[in-house]
């Protein structure tokens, strides 16, 4: 849709994606490499930027949902490209256009707070914990704090 294309173009522009020189520094610091056994170039910041710049089907690509939005890539980029802003912008467009939404909703307040692949990683690492602990992890940070406080007073 024309509107969608404009928004993608705007996301690319405001994050500075056009300045990417593909040096790969962002990939070197990206924690995704340690999180996902199927980590691939397409999932890496460099890969997402490249695909966004060369094609318009980046919105339906599942690879934009793996990012933790930690901003480490932005910190080391010599060109000042903010991969986090790009990912955020693309995710917003995907949600708004109702194409796909791979975000986890807090079980208490319903707000989205983390993407599902990231959440799955955390659960995988913590799988030995009993269920009532894992339940707490399904809450967004502010609900977690409220629940914690209510239990303790």
């Amino acid at each position: 849709m024309a509107n969608g294309k404009d928004m993608i173009a705007e996301a690319k522009r405001s994050s500075g994606a056009h300045s990417c020189v593909e040096c790969g520094r962002c990939v070197a610091v990206c924690p995704m490499a340690e999180m996902y056994s199927n980590f691939s170039i397409e999932m890496s910041p460099r890969g997402v930027i490249k695909k966004a710049l060369t094609g318009n089907d980046i919105i339906t690509d599942e690879n934009i949902w793996y990012c933790t939005e930690c901003n480490a890539g932005t910190d080391v980029c010599p060109q000042g490209v903010s991969c986090r802003d790009l990912i955020r912008g693309l995710r917003e467009i995907a949600i708004e256009e109702n194409i796909v939404e791979d975000l986890k909703h807090c079980t208490r307040c319903g707000r989205q707070f983390v993407s599902i692949p990231v959440e799955n990683f955390v659960f995988e690492r913590l799988r030995e914990e009993p269920p009532n602990v894992l339940d707490v992890l399904e809450l967004c940070p502010s609900c977690k704090r409220e629940v914690y406080m209510l239990r303790n007073t």
């Binding site: 924690p31 199927n38 890496s44 933790t68 939005e69 480490a72 913590l126 629940v147």
Partner: protein, 435 residues
């Protein structure tokens, strides 16, 4: 961190660069374990002033910025209560598991720290923290975790009402030594020196009469010998005073089971339909009823406690059935600790009935307890009556004194003095923190 591609898997992984720390237990750890420092919060004293946030943020970002502190005061407007949340430096921290770059470490002093060299501020530790501790700075996204100010926490120092207290956790465990000593002496006395003293009623004027034995005797013979009944009062009196103290400190079979537990540390657990604590009452009733029906004490010959007591010396050896039962019960120890004591022992059943009206109780004080971040008492309890799940949710569990064998392992182990012994009538609603 290295880039891994799908084709080559021979690149260096994180496991090689920063391996998970091993849980090694050396001998001194048994008596002087690692410290578990922490900050305890007393909600009764908190006035909600927020000074703790101010001084913490001063340390984190060199500014007064309460939003960037590693401690957060939650203010509930409905119930008008305040609660401070901060990192509890858990014994088994979940954040360490969740960190993809292994930037978090638990130091020798027990403090959980973040190594800024490896941290990429991904925020997964914040998601994984069960205590909802504020780790991520909402503005810069940097992770600033409480590190107890390296041992001298500012928030504790500057809290005007003293609601925050630093505790290093006591570490010396003396009850353990005393108990093993008493158990050994009692074993030697009851088994080796005074053969068969516990259950046999023939050791002269002095004997510790087994209450189950006396009951079966009365049922089978229909005769009540006053002096035997009176001599059971010794044990029953002890139970009313101190709960199932006999089970935890004196019973020779209990000692035997504790030794077996030492060599079978990993427990595979029982399926839930086996786990009825009522079974021992059933066995008691069966023993007494059977004695009444058959005219002799049906349970005493096969009783493992008796078998152990009578096994030493010229007259006693473990004959076939006894040997089988003792061996089978020892074998069951791989499933849980003190299986016999929990589910089958009729002596324990009688003592449990008296412990119900006993004078003391074991309490786990909610304010001093570190709840999720510790849970050592639940792990170390041989009778498994401390509900770890409740503790993880932040509720102090009620401890049934009918099951508790007063071994006091929980009291010994608790570094914060939250697990304690109190008289039954003493109020155990969380009061002020006593240190």
């Amino acid at each position: 961190m290295q880039e891994q591609t799908n084709e080559q898997n021979n690149s260096i992984t994180l496991e090689d660069l920063r391996p998970r720390p091993e849980e090694k237990k050396t001998f001194p750890d048994h008596f002087m374990p690692r410290l578990h420092p922490g900050i305890l919060f007393d909600p009764k004293k908190c006035t909600g002033c927020g000074t703790c946030e101010m001084v913490c943020s001063l340390r984190n970002v060199s500014k007064i910025a309460p939003a960037s502190a590693s401690i957060k005061v939650l203010r509930d407007e409905d119930s008008v209560k305040n609660f401070a949340i901060l990192c509890q430096h858990c014994r088994k921290p979940l954040c360490i598991e969740a960190c993809p770059t292994r930037a978090i470490e638990k130091g020798e002093d027990g403090i959980v720290r973040i190594n800024k060299l490896f941290c990429v501020a991904c925020g997964l530790c914040t998601i994984a923290c069960p205590e909802a501790a504020p780790l991520q700075d909402p503005i810069t996204g940097e992770i600033n975790k409480c590190d107890l100010c390296d041992g001298d926490p500012q928030c504790v120092k500057y809290c005007p009402s003293g609601a925050l207290i630093l505790t290093k956790g006591k570490s010396f465990r003396w009850i353990k030594g005393l108990r093993w000593f008493v158990q050994t002496i009692s074993f030697l006395l009851l088994v080796v020196v005074l053969i068969g003293t516990f259950c046999s009623l023939k050791a002269g004027a002095l004997s510790l009469s087994c209450p189950a034995g006396v009951l079966q005797n009365i049922a089978s013979s229909g005769v009540v010998v006053l002096v035997w009944v009176l001599s059971t009062f010794l044990i029953i009196g002890l139970t009313i005073l101190a709960g199932r103290f006999f089970c935890g400190w004196i019973c020779p079979f209990g000692f035997f089971l504790d030794l077996v537990d030492k060599i079978t540390p990993k427990k595979i657990g029982l399926p839930s339909f086996f786990k009825s604590r009522m079974a021992k009452y059933g066995i008691l009733i069966g023993a007494v009823g059977g004695s009444c029906a058959f005219g002799f004490q049906v349970f005493c010959p096969i009783c493992p406690i008796g078998s152990i007591c009578r096994s030493h010396g010229a007259a006693g050896t473990l004959n076939g059935a006894n040997m089988g039962i003792v061996a089978a019960l020892a074998g069951l120890e791989v499933t849980e600790r003190r299986v016999w004591c929990r589910y089958f022992c009729p002596v324990g059943a009688i003592l449990a009935l008296f412990a119900k009206i006993g004078l003391i109780k074991i309490v786990i004080g909610a304010n001093q307890c570190k709840k999720f971040s510790c849970v050592q008492c639940a792990e170390v309890c041989p009778m498994g009556i401390i509900d770890a799940n409740k503790l993880r949710e932040g509720i102090s569990p009620e401890i049934p004194m009918t099951e508790c064998i007063t071994c006091m392992r929980c009291i010994d182990r608790c570094p914060y003095g939250a697990a304690k012994i109190r008289f039954r009538w003493q109020k155990t609603i969380p009061g002020n923190i006593e240190l």
